[in-house]
């Protein structure tokens, strides 16, 4: 197989006395969808926050396109082309939809904001995601429904061309149609050469979209599988710890 | 009341306790004068005038001076006093700040330390050394009355605005009462007396509003000090008016305004006089004597009274000669001509 675009080697992370990641390896390849699954509190979000530079790892190595990189700040991840949709969404409630979608990546013209351009792009991104009920692009995100907020967060990650897109439970609050659109979006992102890492508890979604499945169990990676070679029951076994394996070559 | 005899007893007992102490740091006790100044912002005199003057005089007499400033905070005032008493004092010179000195006076006297009330009266103090603040007010009032008469305005008819100081400050009340006593006697009724504060900007706004209310007509302004006067004068300038304005402190701006004719006069309180008297008294007390005061207050406190001086353009030279203002600072720019007119010279 080709060189992975992102490779984590033995990353660790503790919060005070609590060891959350105990030496985790993970790879993600361009053009493939890697699903990261695991029980609640297994450490999935912590793992990807480290990759996003939001909560730097305590130890271990991160290779990006084969080079070791430092990820101590979200800007560093952003510069490498890593885009993240966080589980807690991380939106500014006092800003509107367009402002949130372009935060940190505003379109400028003549030194000031090109609002028209941003609105047009935001409208297209939301349309892509089957958003029907939003009243206006200038609505503050504080007044959005749970699913609408999630859609805005996802749309944020596609308005900028990225090399790696990480989605932490992106469909948790989404309706049927929106979920289908997001899964389709994920597939298309991967097909266009982006490495996608998706965290989800919905194994149906995982099997629908993922190429590789990595299972995190209590802070250690207990399985690395190809989706086509495994089954739902197997994966559930790894997640709940009733099954263990020696690592496969992914 | 505290007679001068008890002061003498206290002085000697302070000395004896120092002698009996085996702590090296306590040795200074009998020879230390502890001085608390009230604040630094209301007037520059405390830090720039009194502090060096008292320090010099007491140190020259071979004693130690511990001078601190309460910075307009009564709690801090008490803390400083505690700290001083911790280190030991032979005499205390206190400038009261909003009543903070009362308890300290009692505490000090309980330890046999005589207390000199400096510049502001303290109930129960052993001595009082001060300019007479009521008299300061009288001089201010006099300058307003004289100014009106010089302009040919009948005081009884004149439109006079009163811009006082902070009403929470006891001295402000005395300045006010002194000034009013003179102005009232001359037949002046306040045309407006807005709320006061020791604050130039606030005074400017209050005066501006009073002026608006008076339809832009004013004949004189009683301003309690030079800072307040400065705010008033700016508003007068803006309206193209020049009327007698009073003031005190003989600050640079005040003296300049006096020279320029924008301020009738400023009351000059050469604190060197006050400081010299207090220092002399303190040195005597440290040496175990109990000097007699020329007068006493109503409650019997021995009183060394100093006389404030009204400074018009011709009197500025005296302030410069006393070293309480510098010719170079005053006589610059537009003021230079006015200086030359009255023949001002740098201090010799």
């Amino acid at each position: 197989m080709t060189q992975p675009i992102v490779e984590l080697q033995g990353v660790t992370k503790s919060f005070g006395p609590v060891e959350v990641l105990k030496g985790v390896d993970l790879v993600a390849h361009a053009g493939r969808v890697t699903a990261l699954v695991g029980d609640n509190g297994a450490g999935k979000s912590t793992l990807i926050k480290g990759l996003a530079g939001v909560q730097p790892y305590d130890g271990g190595t991160v290779l990006f396109e084969g080079e070791p990189v430092s990820l101590h700040h979200p800007r560093e991840a952003s510069r490498l082309g890593i885009e993240v949709v966080y589980q807690d969404l991380a939106l500014c409630d006092n800003l509107d939809i367009v402002q949130n979608m372009f935060l940190g990546r505003e379109e400028l013209a003549l030194g000031t904001f090109d609002e028209g351009q941003m609105e047009a792009e935001a409208a297209r991104a939301l349309q892509t995601l089957s958003v029907r009920t939003v009243k206006s692009l200038r609505q503050k995100v504080a007044s959005l429904s749970g699913g609408q907020r999630q859609t805005v967060a996802i749309a944020r990650s596609v308005v900028k061309k990225a090399k790696v897109v990480i989605l932490d439970e992106p469909t948790a609050a989404l309706g049927v149609a929106q979920t289908a659109q997001v899964l389709e979006l994920v597939r298309r992102l991967a097909d266009s050469g982006v490495a996608v890492i998706i965290i989800s508890h919905n194994l149906q979604d995982v099997f629908a979209v993922a190429d590789d499945i990595s299972v995190l169990y209590l802070g250690t990676m207990t399985a690395r599988l190809e989706a086509k070679d495994t089954s739902r029951d197997d994966v559930v076994g790894y997640i709940t710890g009733t099954k263990t394996m020696t690592e496969v070559e992914a | 009341g505290c007679s001068s005899d008890s002061g003498s007893d206290d002085g000697s007992s302070g000395g004896s306790s120092a002698g009996s102490s085996d702590d090296g740091a306590m040795m200074a006790e009998g020879g230390r004068a502890c001085i608390i100044l009230p604040d630094a912002a209301s007037s520059p005199r405390w830090e720039n005038g009194d502090r060096p003057a008292l320090d010099e005089a007491i140190t020259a007499a071979g004693f130690e001076a511990d001078i601190q400033n309460a910075q307009g905070d009564t709690a801090k005032y008490s803390t400083i006093a505690d700290q001083m008493l911790t280190q030991g004092c032979g005499v205390m010179i206190l400038v009261d700040y909003n009543g903070a000195a009362v308890t300290i006076t009692e505490n000090a006297q309980a330890q046999g330390i005589p207390v000199i009330a400096y510049d502001r009266p303290i109930a129960g103090a052993d001595y009082y050394v001060s300019f007479d603040n009521f008299q300061v007010g009288e001089l201010e009032g006099q300058s307003v009355v004289d100014g009106l008469e010089a302009n040919g305005v009948d005081p009884a008819e004149a439109v006079v605005v009163y811009i006082g100081g902070d009403p929470a400050d006891g001295n402000a009340a005395m300045f006010h009462d002194g000034a009013v006593s003179v102005m009232e006697a001359a037949g002046i009724e306040p045309a407006a007396e807005p709320a006061g504060k020791w604050d130039g900007e606030y005074s400017a706004t209050q005066f501006e509003q009073a002026l608006t209310d008076l339809g832009g007509k004013v004949d004189a302004v009683w301003a309690a000090n030079d800072t307040n006067a400065a705010g008033v004068i700016t508003v007068l300038d803006k309206n193209g008016l020049t009327v007698p304005v009073s003031g005190q402190d003989a600050s640079v701006a005040g003296l300049q305004n006096v020279l320029l004719g924008k301020q009738a006069a400023t009351v000059y309180k050469p604190y060197q006089l006050e400081a010299a008297t207090a220092a002399e008294l303190a040195v005597a007390l440290l040496g175990g004597e109990a000097p007699e005061a020329p007068t006493s207050l109503d409650d019997g406190t021995p009183f060394f009274a100093e006389t404030p001086i009204l400074v018009g353009p011709e009197d500025v030279q005296q302030v410069i000669d006393d070293g309480n203002a510098s010719y170079d600072e005053i006589c610059t720019g537009d003021v230079l001509a006015a200086c030359d007119e009255v023949g001002l010279q740098p201090a010799s």
Partner: protein, 425 residues
Amino acid sequence: MSTEIEQDEPALEVDADAPSLLGKGEHGGVREAVSAYLRRVRGGDMGPLPAVAGLVVLVAIFAAANPLFLTERNIANLFTQAAPLVTLGMALVFVLLLGEIDLSAGVTFGVAMGVFVKITQPGGMPWPLAVLVALGIGVAVGGTIGFFVAKIGVPSFVVSLGLFLGLQGVMLVIIGAGGTYRLIPEPIKAVQNRNLPPWAGWTMLAVVLGILLAVALTDRLRRASSGAPNAPLSIVLAKLGVVAVLGAALVFYLNQNRGTAVRTLEGVPIVVPVVLAILMVGTFVLDRTRFGRYIYAIGGNAEAARRAGVNVPLVKWSAFVVCSMLAVVAGFFFVSRVGSADASTGREIVLSGVAAAVVGGVSLFGGRGRLVHAMIGATVIAVITNGLGLLGFSAGANLAVSGGVLVLAATVDALARKRSGAIGV
């Protein structure tokens, strides 16, 4: 069922069933715009409206209590009296939006003015250079606070309180013997004490309207070119019309002679265009530049802003620098009014500055507010002082009434917001 768009970005498939949101809820002419605005207001999006309402009520009361209140002369007074507080309030908005506070803003300008007044004594530095020195002091103080707050993470309340104390000490050393210094440079004195000639007042109004129109038209062109819909031109023109009418009334009023029989006094006070310029530039920065946007974002959710790649410490630091610099400008208006600087300059004003912003509708918790809110809030406070000054209460009554009216003004705002039932979620 879905169409594909070819573009640079990863191919996105638009759901043709889903409507495009572009311009949704933003069409309609003047009438629609007005009724949409009214609905928004009823819906809780009040903006500075309650503060304006409070202002109108206050003005009405004072005008009834004293007929001099609405004279040209008093209105002109009001502008110059309010200018320092308005500017200080605007300065504080930059840090309040972050959810921070700067208690030292007043003494910062105190120190800057102490230095300025002292170095511009005759024979000293030329005043334009001294202005730069004063602004430099603002930068230094703001930079210090910003460093401790943004880089080290000390609460701004404590840092700025420390500087509030420390700078008073510095002030004592600077002002030293002599206590009070007269302000010498005529141009600085003129700011608060001279007026524009009548024609210049009209020119000022024309320039303001021209800028507003130019900005609006550029916006429209740009939006049109990216395919985003524009509100009807009539709305833009209607808004400008309102500004033009109010502005013209004011300029006309202030151009009346408000002097005495012997001395004319007329025209817009010089400070007015200066404050307007600060308001316009500042609003531009907050609304249309990354710096401004990031200030709002950090105030709304600092962690979200950080994750979006915003350099949070740098933005915070810069906001403190801007705040202190604008505070120094407020200081110039202040000494220009007083005509002198002493060791207590600026010590009292800062809480009023914060109150001005809050009364105008700026949130102390960050993320909500505009410069114009601080301006309106400061005007409310200035009107209270101004009106009470005309009524000539005693000090005790004056203080009690000021405090009471301040609370009432804020109550109007709070009740309006509450009645409209604006609940965040």
